[in-house]
């Protein structure tokens, strides 16, 4: 098992994610500069949160053309491993067309940083396998552009294939359609989530639910 956490200009959750994988879970992990394209030696690639390229144009719009992101389709197609995008990483994956839909400005027009309740909609995936179906968990969000949008036919497909993994529970903080907080691609090899599991991976920072996300991911790979 070997993981990589990609570092873009403007990433700021890279080291937290690295710490969870390396220090809390003992996974051999590299911080991978965004110009790297040799991805085949990794079983898990995480695109972390932050503000790659200052969120210029749209969040993730410029990072999607970075060499490391351009190398992802082949990595995924060859089944080398799985990809997780957290927050800005999720935005990059939708911009790159590796996950359907788009993430746009929160309905409130505000940056929201707080802990939210989430419901596990599908627990038969690497990301969610350590939770019960419909379990309510807590994770922090921190984003200005987290409102998930997709055309009706895409939403229909997401539901039919059970690609919606986490939904906001109780309160929808950003106006996401269908309360969507996390999705995966059809094959279950690419995951995107707006909440930050790396910020709730120790009891000191909450319930520790985020650690279960990473533990689930690295168990399977």
């Amino acid at each position: 098992m070997r993981a990589a956490v990609v570092v873009f200009p403007g990433s700021n959750c890279d080291y937290d994610t690295y710490y969870v994988l390396k220090d809390l879970l003992g996974v051999e992990t590299d911080l991978l500069w965004y110009r790297e394209t040799a991805l085949h030696r990794y079983d898990l690639i995480v695109l972390p949160g932050g503000f790659s390229y200052g969120d210029y144009l749209r969040a993730g719009a410029i990072a999607r053309f970075a060499p490391v992101v351009q190398a992802l389709p082949e990595y995924i197609a060859r089944g080398h491993g799985i990809v997780l995008g957290i927050c800005n990483g999720f935005q990059i994956l939708t911009e790159a067309g590796l996950l359907p839909g788009a993430l746009t400005k929160n309905i409130s027009q505000r940056f929201i940083c707080k802990t939210v309740k989430l419901r596990v909609e599908n627990n038969a995936t690497p990301l969610t396998q350590l939770f019960r179906y419909e379990e309510i968990i807590e994770l922090p969000i921190a984003h200005g552009e987290g409102r998930y949008i997709a055309p009706p036919e895409t939403l229909e497909r997401l539901k039919r294939n059970r690609q919606i993994l986490l939904t906001y529970h109780g309160e929808n903080p950003n106006g996401s359609v269908e309360n969507i907080a996390a999705i995966m691609n059809e094959k279950g090899t690419v995951f995107g989530m707006m909440p930050h599991p790396e910020r709730n991976s120790e009891q000191l920072f909450g319930t520790g639910a985020g650690l279960k996300i990473f533990r689930g991911l690295v168990h399977l790979v």
Binding site: L57, R58, A61, F65, T94, E95, G101, A102, T104, K105, N106, I107, S108, Q109, I149, A150, P151, G175
Partner: protein, 84 residues
């Protein structure tokens, strides 16, 4: 080669709720501008481009708009070309 000034206008798709547009519209009304509606806030991108013809310039700009400047899931764009 001809040279063009290119203006790409990007706005949220009509079916998409635009909270920024709504906030700006409310503020305009509060500032005394009456009889307004349908405010949308988008982006304006301007650059110069050399191409052999208007048609070629338009094709190139459409391609980069579709691929990069606008996100077709949430935005639509229009292009203006002005020959220098």
């Amino acid at each position: 080669m001809k040279e063009f000034v290119v203006r790409v206008l990007i706005e949220p798709k009509p079916e998409l709720f635009d909270p920024q547009g709504q906030a700006v519209e409310r503020a305009m009304i509060e500032l005394g501008l009456k009889n307004i509606s349908g405010t949308r806030v988008g982006k304006f991108i301007k650059f110069k481009l050399k191409a052999v013809s208007v048609q070629q310039a338009r094709e190139k700009v459409a391609e980069i708009s579709q691929k990069f400047l606008a996100n077709p899931v949430i935005e639509r764009y229009s292009i203006e070309l002005e020959e220098l």
